[in-house]
Every structure is written in structure tokens, then in C-alpha cells.
């Protein structure tokens, strides 16, 4: 087999292994804690009968290991169980919400990735001059404010004071694509601001790192034009760090989406998760946690694989 294929297969196997371990960790996190899950769901005032019923419903009378495997087995077949609070099938309620969340995160990614790379290049081109310093100051500020506060700041100034976009992002299936885009304008803006800052700073560092190496100087000295230096010599070596940065931030987007959905009352997975955490609906929390972890691990794995493909040095490990 080709050595690259072997490496990629190794990463894939590692990712799947990690996913199983993560599912175990999520399960352990909700089950083997001090005290009884049924007790903490129902509170101190629960009657012994209702406790016994809930224990039976959650299968708490069986050993934890067999519960874990039956939960995992069902989850692999797409059966995520039923919600405790309303008895609805979790997979069914999650389906459309997952789509909504992906739509929101995807739109943010489509806008922020090219913009971050462009701004990163701009900051490198004008290093230590005012565009670089301005970009650094703005990104430092937006890193220092939590996502939900950026959300409310934008909501206050853009939606309430200027009246441009709606302050809640309700979407439904009846809306056309552009109506949907208009509805999610503000949450997308927040997400773009949050990941843009990280992505831009890391892109800038990655390109600066490459531009300082000796072979770039050689290329400049032998009389290549600025464009040729960047396109033929600097860019190939900057691809792998940049792809890494992009993937890490897409993974970060997965988490950022949870909070932003709550701010803008957006019918996505994040809001579903947060709602059910406060209702102590353990099966829903486990299911959402598993999906978020899977997306996060998947993106990280993809970043690994792409950087192996883009960087010849990683193809031949010593």
C-alpha cells in the first residue's frame, strides 16, 4: 500500500477509536457521579415510587457497562432513545435542528475562512504598519469578549438602534433560501467575528513563519517577483498550517454555535442541548454531547489528514 494511504488509514482508525473513547467519557460523565442520577433529576422531594420508576425507565438497575453498550449500540443504529421530559423520539427532534445548526455554522464558515486568509495576508504584507496594528487591536478585543456578549452588543446597535436585521433568528421550512439568510444575518455576524479573530491571528503567524525562512530570501535574491515568491515558494509550505488553523476554528465554531443559538433563539441543536441540560434530561444531553463531540473529532481528524497530504515532510515519519 502507498505510504500516504497507510498514514491516512492510521489517522482514520485513530479518530474512530477516539470517538468511541469520547462516547464512553460522555456516558461516564452522566452516570458514575457521586449520588444517584434519578435522585438528582427528580430532586430531594421525590417519592420512593417515582424514583424507582425513573430508575427502571433509565435502566439504572442494570450494570453500567451493559447500559453503556446498549446505549452505544442503539446510537450507532440511529436510535438515540426518547426524551424524559416529553417522551418524544430524540433522533426525530434532532434531525431538523442539526440541519439548522449546520446551515448557521456553514454560512459563518463560508464567509469567515476566505476573509480570515485575506486579512491574514494583508497583515503580513503591511507588517508593523497601521493596517497590521489595527487588525491586531480589533481581533484582540473580540477575543476578550464572550460570544454571547458580542451577540447582544450587535443586537443592541444593529438591530435595535439601526433597525437593520431582526433581533431573533427564527427560521422555518416555508422560508426561501434568501429569507433564511436574512434571518440569520446577525448570528452569522457574531460567529464570523469570533472565529475570524482566532483564524486571522493564526494565519498571520503561520505565513510570517514561512516568509522568514532562508529559502524565501534566496527566491527573492535570485530576482523572482513578489507574487511568484508567495505563490510558488511560500504558499505550498503555508497550506498545512493554514488548513490546520481553518479546521481548528471550524471545530471551535461547533461550540460557539451553542451559545449564539441561545442568544438569538435559533431553533438549532445548541439551544436544544442547553434547554435539556437545565431540565436534567440525561438521554437528550448524552445524544447532543455525542453528536457535538463527533463533529469536533471529525474536523480535527480531517485537519490531520489534509496536513499530511499537503506536507511531504509528514509523509515520511522518522
Amino acid at each position: 500500500m502507498h505510504p500516504v494511504l497507510t498514514l491516512v488509514a492510521q489517522r482514520l482508525a485513530l479518530g474512530i477509536l477516539l470517538l468511541f473513547a469520547a462516547s464512553a467519557l460522555i456516558f461516564v460523565g452522566t452516570q458514575i457521579l457521586p449520588g444517584d442520577v434519578a435522585q438528582s433529576i427528580l430532586g430531594q422531594s421525590a417519592t420512593p415510587e417515582s424514583l424507582a420508576n425513573l430508575r427502571k425507565e433509565l435502566g439504572l438497575n442494570e450494570p453500567a457497562l451493559s447500559r453503556y453498550f446498549s446505549w452505544l449500540g442503539n446510537a450507532l443504529q440511529g436510535d438515540l432513545g426518547t426524551a424524559l421530559t416529553n417522551g418524544r423520539d430524540i433522533a426525530e427532534s434532532l434531525g431538523s435542528r442539526l440541519g439548522n445548526t449546520m446551515f448557521l455554522a456553514g454560512t459563518a464558515a463560508v464567509i469567515s475562512v476566505p476573509l480570515a486568509i485575506f486579512l491574514g495576508l494583508l497583515a503580513v504584507r503591511y507588517k508593523d504598519r497601521w493596517p497590521d496594528k489595527l487588525i491586531s487591536a480589533v481581533t484582540l478585543t473580540s477575543i476578550s469578549i464572550p460570544e454571547f456578549l458580542i451577540g447582544y452588543v450587535l443586537m443592541y446597535f444593529i438591530s435595535v438602534k439601526l433597525g437593520w436585521f431582526s433581533s431573533v433568528a427564527m427560521i422555518n421550512d416555508g422560508m426561501s433560501f434568501f429569507e433564511k439568510l436574512n434571518a440569520i444575518a446577525l448570528p452569522v455576524m457574531v460567529l464570523v467575528m469570533v472565529v475570524l479573530a482566532h483564524m486571522m491571528r493564526m494565519t498571520r503567524a503561520a505565513i510570517l513563519n514561512v516568509m522568514q525562512s532562508a529559502y524565501i530570501e534566496t527566491a527573492e535574491l535570485k530576482g523572482l517577483s513578489g507574487f511568484q515568491v508567495i505563490a510558488k515558494h511560500a504558499f505550498p509550505n503555508a497550506i498545512s498550517p493554514i488548513v490546520n488553523v481553518v479546521m481548528l476554528n471550524l471545530a471551535y465554531l461547533v461550540v460557539g454555535v451553542v451559545v449564539v443559538e441561545v442568544v438569538f433563539v435559533y431553533p438549532g441543536m445548541g439551544q436544544y442541548l442547553v434547554d435539556h441540560v437545565s431540565k436534567r434530561d440525561v438521554p437528550v444531553v448524552q445524544a447532543c454531547g455525542l453528536i457535538f463531540a463527533a463533529v469536533y473529532i471529525g474536523l480535527n481528524m480531517l485537519a490531520d489528514i489534509i496536513s499530511i497530504l499537503a506536507n511531504p515532510r509528514l509523509r515520511h515519519p522518522k
Binding site: L18, A21, A22, L25, I26, G29, T30, Q31, L33, V37, S40, I41, L140, T141, I143, S144, I145, P146, E147, F148, L149, I150, Y152, V153, M155, Y156, V160, K161, S167, A251, V254, V255, V258, V259, V262, V263, L273, V274, H276, V277, S278, R280, D281, V282, V285, Q286, C288, G289, F292, A293, Y296, I297, N300
Partner: protein, 271 residues
């Protein structure tokens, strides 16, 4: 001792100011923490500098007490994450072998799940109290400190003086606390600033989601949650914490930058 640069001075000043206000909150705040003093969402006036909140409490008072809670939780969680993370990281680097493998792979595993998601999963079954919050946040964040301190300690561990200490028969505890810790301190201190800010953001986010500090206790995330309905009517009460968090975060960052630069130029390299 070189002169402290102006940016670090500003950072130090504001950081100390925030901690001072947090510690002496009951003497500084003009009203009681949960005391209802006026109408709902009054504009700012000489009696209420920042106006009043969603049920008529003085917003400035809430902000001061909120800062106290937020800063206390963030500080405690940072200390917890540094003591566990750094001790285990040094231990892994010094002992190597299977201890290192087990600890490192376990940390990889925890870091494979986003910490906010994992915190939500754990908090769905735990009672949400301040000690539990500190424990969950501190231990989740210890993974990042572990990685940094292990990386730093691996470099120090191969130095001659560590070798000498090992050869003269010093125990593991001596190696970690007398040989490695003093030399690893500067990158750790700079990182501590960043972790502290991360904790402030983390606890504010959890409180905002209703899973952190519980009312009537004030905290910066909770203030946003209590006043968010006002935004739509053009009442900016919910934005006050944004300003507080941003200034605190930027000043701590400035101090951390300075610490890092100073120690780097001192030794000609990080650590």
C-alpha cells in the same frame, strides 16, 4: 530592573483595580446586593450611576458584586487547574514511561471533547453550586496546563543540573519542586493570565446559559441573562458586563504579555 512599559502599567493598574473592587465589594457598593431600590430599568442618574436592572436593583451594585463572584470563581478555578495540571505535567515529564503515556492519552481524550459541551454534560446531573462549578471548570482546564507544563518540563528534564540531582539520589518530589518548577515558572505565569481570562469567559457563559451562578447571587453572565429582554426596547443594561469583561481581559493580557517578554529577554529563550 527595566522600566515597566506603559501598556503593562495600564494593565497592572486595571487588574489591581478589579481585584480591589472585588475584595472590598461590600464597602464600595452603594446599595445592598439584592436590595430593590428603584423602578424597573431606570436610566442612569446621580443616585444610580448605571441605572437599575430588570427588577429595580442598582446596576452598579450588581456589577460590583457580580465581579466579586466572577473573579472569585475564575481565580479559584485557575489555581485548581494550575496545581493539578502542572503537578501532573511535571510528573509525566520526569517519570516518563507508562505514567507519561497514560496521563497524556487521557488528556488527549478529554481535549477531544469541547470543554463547554463536556461541562454541560456533567452539569446536567450535578447540582449547580459554586464548588461544583470551580471543580468542573478547573479540572477541565487542567488538561491545557498539563500539556504546556509537560512540554516545558521535558526540555528542563534533560538539563545537567537535573541529571546531577538525580545522580545524587534526590527523590521525585525534590526534582519536581526544587529543580523543574523554578525553571518552568515564567511560561507558566504568562499562561496563567490567559487561563484566568478563559475562566472568566467560561463562567460568564455558563451563568448566561443558566447553568452557572444561581440568582439572587450576582455575576457578570447572570446580569446579562437577567437584563436581556431589555435589549429589544433599547435598554443597554445587559451590555455593562461586556465592557467589564473586555477591560479586565485586555488588562490581564497586557500584563501576561509583559511577563512573557521580560522573562524571554532575560534568558534568551522561552523558559
Amino acid at each position: 530592573m527595566k522600566i515597566i512599559p506603559i501598556s503593562a502599567l495600564i494593565g497592572l493598574f486595571f487588574t489591581f483595580l478589579y481585584f480591589f473592587v472585588a475584595i472590598f465589594a461590600p464597602w464600595i457598593a452603594p446599595y445592598g446586593m439584592a436590595e430593590i431600590v428603584g423602578d424597573v430599568w431606570e436610566p442612569s442618574s446621580s443616585a444610580y450611576w448605571l441605572g437599575t436592572d430588570s427588577i429595580g436593583r442598582d446596576l452598579l451594585t450588581r456589577m460590583i458584586y457580580g465581579g466579586r463572584t466572577t473573579i472569585f470563581i475564575a481565580t479559584a478555578a485557575t489555581i485548581l487547574s494550575f496545581t493539578t495540571g502542572a503537578t501532573l505535567g511535571f510528573l509525566a515529564a520526569v517519570s516518563g514511561g507508562w505514567i507519561d503515556q497514560v496521563l497524556s492519552r487521557f488528556v488527549d481524550l478529554i481535549m477531544a471533547i469541547p470543554s463547554l459541551i463536556f461541562a454541560l454534560v456533567v452539569l446536567s446531573v450535578m447540582p449547580v453550586t459554586i464548588p461544583v462549578l470551580i471543580l468542573v471548570m478547573g479540572l477541565l482546564d487542567a488538561t491545557r496546563v498539563f500539556r504546556l507544563s509537560r512540554a516545558v518540563a521535558v526540555d528542563i528534564n534533560v538539563m545537567d543540573y537535573v541529571e546531577a540531582a538525580k545522580l545524587r539520589g534526590e527523590g521525585l518530589r525534590w526534582i519536581i519542586f526544587r529543580e523543574i518548577l523554578p525553571n518552568a515558572l515564567s511560561p507558566l505565569v504568562a499562561e496563567m493570565g490567559l487561563r484566568f481570562i478563559f475562566m472568566v469567559l467560561f463562567v460568564s457563559t455558563l451563568s448566561f446559559l443558566g447553568l452557572g451562578v444561581q440568582p439572587p447571587q450576582a455575576d457578570w453572565g447572570g446580569i446579562v441573562k437577567e437584563n436581556k429582554e431589555g435589549i429589544v426596547y433599547g435598554i443597554s443594561a445587559a451590555l455593562a458586563p461586556a465592557f467589564a469583561i473586555a477591560t479586565l481581559a485586555i488588562s490581564v493580557n497586557l500584563v501576561a504579555d509583559w511577563v512573557l517578554n521580560r522573562t524571554t529577554s532575560l534568558k534568551g529563550g522561552r523558559g
